[in-house]
Point group: C2
């Protein structure tokens, strides 16, 4: 195998009540990467399409992640990466995580190594640090492992894959305004009122319970955020209308995807998810803002080799 | 049936990572109450043994709870309550909750009404308010329902019974110093640093997952508190030694029971729980403090009629 093509998925971090700890993986949009062996030693990014990102290893999320992996697991073989960005940078659906995860997973597969996905996370995280200024794995974990993930403790890479009802469908709208993750983090308050903490812990505990029990009503009651929504939603035009519209369409919950500006809703079944999408489009169109919209089941497996391995 | 005897159990609130939302029910210590029909109309507390508590309905937790229940569900029949307090007031294992729950459940049983346990909680809560100055159900819920409970939302009485491995055993030591719940609440900070909130939500999410999966290691990794332990443990002599001793004896976790001063540890199996108890006794004895100590499985059913119904 001299070349491999991989699909690295977009992800929704936080999922309302799980700020910095919960994330879920999507399947309808993700980056593609071709990773090739080269006779010329060393690591190079040779092509980037879809976004204006630096080719320099040190300045590119995929490059930093790949370099970190190769520092731990060196090879004599030269490696070239081509990146086809489908996830817009700054959209809030894990663009940098997809780059980092794709590079590390892809090189590991290309070299036919048997290192487990969970053990690749630390290297992907090095790339994420470049993008957001600090290590957080709430996009990295679901992109690498798939499904619905809980980052219990990042220092010990204690990450749990949660169960979920397989008919959950996510609607995502990306209003094309840019919010940098690093900026979205600076507007967060450093202190949280105790009463909000109690609500947040009650909701995440209830959500986890609802996921194990496949109790849709319980899941719905728990999909609230008491920590960041108030501040971050101010950066998203029409946020309250989008949320109200999703809930009126029967979504189980609606919130900000990661640090925004993408807004996600979780529904039971495709029909409701499409109704939510219809409402989302109508609201954002009226505001005169361009957008992308996706409807996706939760992606069970995360980053993967595409069928057409070359 | 003219008279009924009931057992109203002690409880552990908070359970480390679940401040104000988690609680579990114990079986080796609880109050007893005799509740009698009387020809003389009205509600009276006719006897209290074991604690110096007021007989006045308005000033007694059981009285306030009973009155609240009877206001909603009136009866022509006179009711007399005898209370045999076995749970020390101010011990931190739900003494006031046991009184409130016992009175409401007991009257409901005596009158042979079919109101469900969950629907009795609001009236018990009125009693708890008298004791702690505010409504919280983290002792009321497990005392009434048994098992391991999550108060997801108190306003809507959204309470979830969690599963747990049946071989969990709780060791409780009550060092006989008094901490009033109301005082223990005033020393809490009104604001929690965001990084602690993230750890707390990760831990409670992991704990719930561990309970569903019966994953003892995960349960153990999650039994930490990031919100109140630092402040409240200062009120408990030898707290750090107690905790270290429990963990060295192989307990899955150790923390403050409710607002203290009782300290609880959760172990897998009776043998470890006894080892924990041995360590606890040794430490508190050396400090010259009198204590009670209990070893108890989690009480699956909560408040109950005793076998010897009169």
């Amino acid at each position: 195998m001299n070349s491999i093509k991989i699909f690295s998925p977009s992800t929704v971090a936080n999922v309302s009540c799980g700020f910095d700890v919960l994330g879920l993986c999507l399947e309808t949009v993700g980056d593609e990467m071709i990773i090739k062996k080269s006779e010329k030693p060393g690591l190079r990014i040779t092509k980037i399409e879809g976004e204006n990102l630096p080719l320099s290893i040190e300045k590119n999320v995929a490059g930093v992640a790949a370099k970190s992996y190769l520092y731990k697991y060196p090879t004599e073989i030269g490696i070239e990466i081509e990146i086809f960005k489908k996830i817009k940078a700054g959209s809030g659906i894990g663009s940098s995580a997809a780059s980092a995860v794709g590079a590390v997973y892809g090189i590991n597969e290309l070299l036919e190594r048997t290192i487990k996905r969970i053990d690749l996370i630390p290297y992907a995280l090095e790339g994420e640090k470049l993008a957001s200024g600090q290590a957080h794995a709430d996009n990295i974990a679901p992109a690498m492992l798939g499904g619905f993930t809980l980052v219990r403790d990042l220092n010990s890479f204690d990450i749990i894959k949660l169960p979920y009802p397989l008919d959950l469908v996510v609607t995502i709208i990306h209003p094309k305004i840019e919010i940098k993750t690093a900026h979205a983090r600076t507007i967060l308050k450093k202190q949280v009122p105790l009463k909000n903490v109690i609500k947040q812990t009650a909701n995440i505990a209830g959500l986890i319970s609802g996921l194990y029990l496949e109790d849709y009503d319980l899941i719905s009651r728990c999909l609230n955020d008491e920590i960041i929504e108030k501040e971050r939603s101010l950066l998203i035009p029409g946020y309250n209308s989008l949320k109200n519209s999703a809930l009126e369409s029967g979504a189980l919950g609606c919130g900000i995807s990661g640090s925004g500006p993408s807004v996600f809703a979780i529904s039971r079944g495709q029909t409701k998810a499409k109704e939510v999408a219809y409402g989302f489009k109508s609201i954002v169109s009226k505001l005169g803002i361009d957008y992308d919209i996706y409807i996706s089941k939760i992606n069970l497996n995360g980053v993967k080799k595409m069928i057409n391995v070359i």
